[in-house]
């Protein structure tokens, strides 16, 4: 039996959480919703924010880098820059914008010492929404997630149980409930998902895919 020529097959892209085979579920009374984020482009940028010309070139390309610790700067089309350190940001965008972003940012930063690295597949993203979302996260995250300490538009690198996590507080949902985006390294995807799902049990868990 001849094998089909592999080159004729369209390669299938699989986000980390695809391996879990998640199906949507919305039991009555569920207060927490988990959603696997598949199509996110993630570029890691390291740059000396003191290089005015580079910052200006980025601004011209539509990107403002937050310079206060834990800041998130929004750009057009749902793109945003997450502060990870004094010289490090994670740039998030829809996946289909990746090629354009790489090229636009590469041009803008040409000639300046920087590192723009595609980490799209390095990470897995999970969104957790609901009134008790912070209570679920607090079971494994030592940060103060109170409204006053960690409002929408903040990001921090922390722990979720025993996994490193980038935690971003997103704008509140339509019904006013808090929404967080959890980003973990790819191999921790199952651990993080199971951990959040287990922690949300007492509040009722819905799954969106």
């Amino acid at each position: 039996m001849a094998e089909p020529a592999a080159t004729t097959q369209t390669p299938v892209r699989r986000a980390a959480l695809d391996a879990l085979g998640l199906t949507a579920a919305a039991p009555a009374g569920a207060q927490v919703t988990l959603r696997a984020l598949a199509d996110v482009c993630r570029l890691n940028l390291r740059l000396d924010a003191g290089i005015g010309a580079a910052v200006a070139a980025l601004a011209a390309a539509g990107w403002t880098l937050p310079t206060t610790a834990g800041g998130v700067a929004k750009a057009a089309d749902g793109r945003r820059a997450l502060w990870l350190g004094p010289d490090e940001w994670l740039l998030l965008a829809p996946l289909d914008a990746r090629e354009a972003m790489l090229s636009a940012l590469g041009s803008a930063l040409a000639g300046h010492h920087h590192a723009l690295v595609d980490l799209t597949d390095n990470y897995a993203g999970i969104e957790i929404a609901g009134r008790p979302a912070a209570d679920v996260l607090a079971k494994g995250c030592p940060l103060d997630l109170d409204e006053r300490a960690f409002p929408s538009g903040r990001v921090a690198q922390s722990l979720l149980g025993k996994a490193d996590m980038i935690l971003e507080r997103r704008p509140d949902g339509a019904d006013g409930v808090p929404v967080y985006q959890v980003t973990v390294r790819r191999s921790f995807a199952r651990y993080a998902w199971d951990w959040l799902a287990d922690g949300a049990l007492e509040f009722g868990l819905a799954v969106a895919v």
Binding site: D118, L119, D121, N122, A163, S187, L201
Partner: protein, 1008 residues
């Protein structure tokens, strides 16, 4: 009401409309919702509920809460599942609750162990230390027998099915304690806008407010219960206040980090517990400020026979009476040194219980409370003491005599006999200063009350109410308000002011009298228990002093006073008082014993949280994991990673599978999932300079498009990590590290960049998980890969060994490295991780006609060992230099690098260090044990034996048809062809020292 003969007809905070049924030692008991196990047992008339630890004396409920030294029980869930040492005052009853008494056999009422009590003179403090010391060898036998009779309760034998969890929390003000001071503090801080957590130990908040009768003390003109209800409603309405009931602040650590234990479902019947809720929750809390409002516990008096069932602390008796509507007996006597007992007496009278007499050690008790009691027609016997009690399983009478003026003996004369079935005792109050002391506060002794009060705080905490020695209700509320407002202000809530203190209508209390050991009749001191739980009498303490112990810490350990489950909450101050008294020194000179965490016992389950089971440690998997699992892979744990170890086919053994995989990789083609290797993107104009400094060999000379194997050393010159690094551009490198070193190498490199060489313009980015990596090896690998690939010329000269090319593999952008860890022609395909599985499947499909065989880490180990390639962490152990490994060629002599200097120390330049060699056993089928020690002698000589080295790797090599091993051997390179012996437990295995490269020493195969 037949099951609750001592339940009063009215009053109390119990729900009389429902009856709760439970069993105690198998006997049917009942109570009402709102009851604790203690109150329900007392309502049933049961006072004897435990046997003491050492003498198995009958013991009853002494106190009202967790401080009770006697009321420890075992709560049974299943035959193999029960929890020992539960404090009966903390167990809320539910239908079906099963409780067993502890420390008795065969039954509580008839306990054989009680013989020790009859012979108690033979069992003084230190009995075990003294008696079972000789002969020394016999201790092993004694210990087994003593162990069997020791301990309180029994450990469960079955697995714990319950769910536990941890959670973090932050607040401006933590209020520890749900009594009046705590509630007042939470109100003041909450109104000021502070984020407040109020933790109360009991199911119902209110503390002593719950003990007030309906016509008792009034706050702002309303009954205490009404004020409480309004306060709790206000707290519940404040979004910034979280009230945690059934939550104990159990530990206070530095920087206001506190641990709280919340008992979430313990009070529910098992059928009412949901699987989603944890049974207990451990809070890890950061509080800007802490208000301690933990209250005070009552101190017993130390007098002869003071431990009989039916003897209760006066304040606790009042709690049972008012809060639970339980009469402690039909005819009650009271014995006190302060005014507390008079409140109890008044409430007893109001509840219709006969009060026999109040015995008071103070010569002339005539405060307002004492006068009220006297006016009610009850005999108040001032300047008197109880010299004896009677009744075995329950008290049935006391004998009273006049005290001498100094309180150390009794006046000559007749004694008075008073019949009673319960005795209330009060020796004053001990503020609960445990948390203050845990936070490094030093307690201060107050001679007027015989109590230790909190000293100057060290941490950001303050005390209010009973735990500060303030026993009046009005005082506690006022202090709570001030403490709460001050704490909120300190935590950043500007303008917080304490509410106006409420007006509380209460009688002032007359000063107490402090006496430690009350006398018995002349010449008959009797036995007076100081620490009930450890069965320590004043005599034991005095014996410890006679034997030379002076420090209270030593006295405590010698007598075991304060070392029970209760940690001496009730007994410790009396221990200090009795010891000081015996030594004739003031109490502060004795010092206090250390207050340790936790405040009350914490279950192991709560400490473990969600830890056991699937959340013990993350399980990390590669993008191709599902394929491995579906194709017979067994996995090996490599750190947190699951790596395919070998692929079992048709039920073959592991050895057969590994042999098959190894052979296929050399004869045809094999493929390995190498995604777990650490990968670091190194970029910047100084990247090459940086790599020259961190690797032993030169990278600045590496051409773009080429790759080089490198060693990193620690500053000690020892091999730390290895890997292949490729030059993507002049200023851009792709570094690989070992799987285990991925995180630590990145941290190490960042620390050098940030602290030592900040002038270097280099950025590091971990890209470990961005790439899925498959290592394709074997003579057929090129035929398999080339047709799938576009944009790469596979011609030998165009794509030489140790280079990489970018192209597409199976339509996916890929970077292909021509590097080899097997010695075969080999390609390492890197694709974005999301395509890892698709490309792997494409390679497998394309390789099937060529016999492409997936191989796991075990075959990989064999393949590299055949070539003598080392694995960091297997051939190295932090004591091995590159020269020891025979890899001098990788150490540049033209430049400096981390660890270089250490390679020239006298020890590292020795030529007889342990060096990497190969070993061939005489017996080709014998695979040496890894780690086996190597010696020079064929038979193991008498110790000490000179150890010449050890086996680092050992396998059966299917390609060589025999066993091979790598080893580190002293002066090994000079011993080629020499003999050495692996020392096993029962024999030695002879082997010949050879080159570590067993296969294809010329390295011809890597070019296919």
């Amino acid at each position: 009401m037949s099951g609750q003969p001592f339940r009063l007809d009215g009053g109390g905070r119990i729900d009389r409309s429902r009856t709760v049924r439970f069993t105690f030692d198998g006997a049917a008991c009942e109570g009402h919702p709102g009851d604790t196990l203690s109150s329900a047992l007392l309502a049933g008339g049961r006072h004897l509920i435990a046997r003491s630890f050492k003498y198995h004396r009958p013991r009853g409920i002494l106190a009202g809460g967790v401080e009770d030294p006697n009321a420890l029980v075992q709560v049974v869930t299943r035959a193999d599942l029960s929890e020992p040492n539960k404090r009966a005052g903390q167990v809320e009853i539910y239908n079906g609750l099963k409780v067993r008494s502890q420390n008795r056999w065969p039954s509580l009422d008839f306990d054989i162990g009680a013989w020790t009590d009859r012979l108690s003179a033979l069992f003084p403090a230190g009995f075990y230390y003294k008696t079972f010391k000789w002969p020394a060898a016999a201790w092993m036998t004694y210990e087994r027998i003593i162990r069997r009779s020791a301990g309180q309760g029994r450990a469960p034998t079955g697995p714990d099915p319950d769910r536990y969890e941890h959670r973090h929390a932050h607040c401006d003000v933590l209020v520890a304690g749900g009594g009046p001071a705590g509630i007042a503090a939470a109100l003041a801080a909450g109104r000021a806008g502070a984020r407040v957590i109020l933790a109360g130990e009991q199911g119902e908040l209110g503390g002593s407010l719950l003990d007030e009768p309906a016509d008792g003390r009034r706050i702002e003109g309303q009954p205490a219960a009404d004020w409480l209800a309004a306060a709790l409603a206000e707290l519940a309405a404040l979004d910034n206040v979280r009230v945690l009931a059934r939550t104990t602040v159990s530990a206070y650590y530095d920087h206001n980090f506190l641990v709280l234990l919340e008992r979430v479902t313990d009070h529910l019947a098992p059928a009412d517990r949901t699987a989603a809720l944890p049974r207990q929750r451990l809070w890890k809390l950061r509080a800007r400020r802490v208000v301690l409002a933990t209250g005070a516990v009552e101190r017993p008096l130390v007098f002869p026979d003071n431990d009989r069932p039916g003897i209760l602390l006066a304040g606790s008796m009042r709690r049972y009476l008012n809060r639970y509507a339980v009469a402690p007996g039909r005819r009650v006597a009271l014995f006190t040194s302060n005014d507390t007992a008079y409140r109890t007496a008044l409430d007893l009278i109001a509840a219709g219980v006969t009060v026999g007499a109040v015995v008071d050690t103070r010569p002339a008790p005539d405060g307002p409370l004492a006068r009220q009691v006297r006016d009610a027609g009850v005999a108040v016997m001032g300047g008197s003491t109880v010299v004896r009690t009677s009744g075995r399983r329950r008290i049935d009478g006391i004998e009273v005599m006049r005290l001498a003026a100094d309180g150390r003996s009794v006046e000559p004369g007749l004694s008075t006999q008073i019949g009673c079935d319960a005795l209330a005792v009060s020796g004053g109050w001990n503020p609960l200063i445990g948390l203050h002391a845990q936070a490094r506060g030093r307690p201060v002794y107050d001679p007027d009350t015989g109590a230790f009060l909190p000293g100057e705080p060290v941490a950001a905490e303050r005390s209010a109410g009973g735990c500060r020695g303030t026993l009046s209700l009005g005082g506690a509320l006022a202090e709570g308000f001030v403490a709460g407002a001050d704490a909120a202000r300190d935590a950043g809530c500007a303008g917080a002011v304490p509410p106006k203190p409420p007006i509380v209508a209460e009688e002032a209390e007359a000063p107490p009298r402090v006496l430690w050991r009350l006398p018995g009749r002349h010449g008959r001191p009797g036995r007076a228990f100081v620490d009930y739980q450890s069965d320590v009498t004043d005599k034991d303490l005095k014996l410890a002093l006679r034997e030379g112990y002076r420090s209270v810490e030593h006295v405590k350990r010698y007598t075991t006073a304060g070392m029970g489950v209760d940690q001496g909450k009730i007994g410790n101050v009396n221990v200090l008082g009795v010891v000081a008294d015996a030594l004739g020194v003031p109490v502060p000179e004795i010092g206090v014993t250390t207050f340790r965490q936790p405040y009350t016992p914490v279950t192991f389950g709560a400490i473990a949280g969600r830890g056991p089971g699937r959340f013990l440690d993350p399980v990390r998997t590669t993008p191709m994991h599902a394929w491995h699992a579906a194709n017979g892979a067994e996995f090996e744990n490599v750190g947190q990673w699951k790596r395919a170890w070998f692929y079992r086919r048709d039920g073959e053994s592991m050895a057969r599978a590994v042999n098959r995989e190894v052979a296929a990789a050399r004869a045809g083609a094999g493929i390995l999932d190498a995604s777990t290797l650490g990968k670091i993107d190194v970029r910047g104009p100084d990247a090459a300079t940086f790599l020259d400094r961190v690797y032993t060999n030169m990278f600045s000379t590496l051409k773009v498009g080429r790759a080089r194997y490198g060693f990193m050393l620690g500053e000690d010159g020892m091999v730390m990590d290895d890997g292949v690094t490729a030059r993507l551009a002049d200023d851009h490198f792709h570094m690989t590290t070992t799987t285990g070193g991925a995180a630590s190498v990145l941290t190490w490199l960042e620390s050098w960049l940030q602290t030592e060489w900040p002038e270097l313009k280099v950025y590091l980015t971990s890209v470990t998980e961005q790439w899925a990596v498959m290592s394709l090896c074997g003579p057929m690998s090129r035929q398999i890969l080339a047709p799938l690939t576009e944009g790469i010329d596979f011609d030998g000269d165009a794509f030489p060994f140790m280079s990489f090319r970018d192209g597409t593999v199976a339509g996916v952008p890929a970077r292909v490295f021509r590097i080899s860890f097997t010695g075969e022609l080999s390609y390492e395909v890197n694709v974005p991780a999301a395509y890892g599985l698709a490309v792997w499947q494409a390679l497998m499909a394309a390789g099937r006609p060529h016999g492409l065989t997936p191989y796991g880490t075990e075959a990989m180990h064999v393949l590299r060992a055949e070539k003598g390639f080392i694995i960091v962490g297997q051939e190295t152990d932090g004591t091995v230099t590159p020269i020891d490994l025979g890899m001098d060629w990788i150490v540049s002599k033209k430049k400096d690098f981390i660890g270089r200097r250490s390679l020239f120390r006298s020890d590292t330049v020795r030529t007889d260090r342990k060096q990497l060699v190969g070993l061939l056993t005489d017996e080709p089928g014998h695979v040496l044990e890894e780690g086996a020690q190597l010696i020079d002698e064929a038979t193991v000589p008498r110790p000490p034996v000179a150890m010449r080295g050890h086996v680092t790797s050992s396998y059966h090599s299917p390609n060589l048809g025999r066993s091979i091993a790598l080893a580190l051997v002293e002066d090994g390179r000079a011993r080629m062809g020499g003999r050495i012996y692996a020392a096993l437990a029962d024999r030695t295995v002879p082997a010949t020292i050879v080159s570590p490269v067993f296969y294809d020493p010329e390295g011809k195969r890597q070019d296919g």
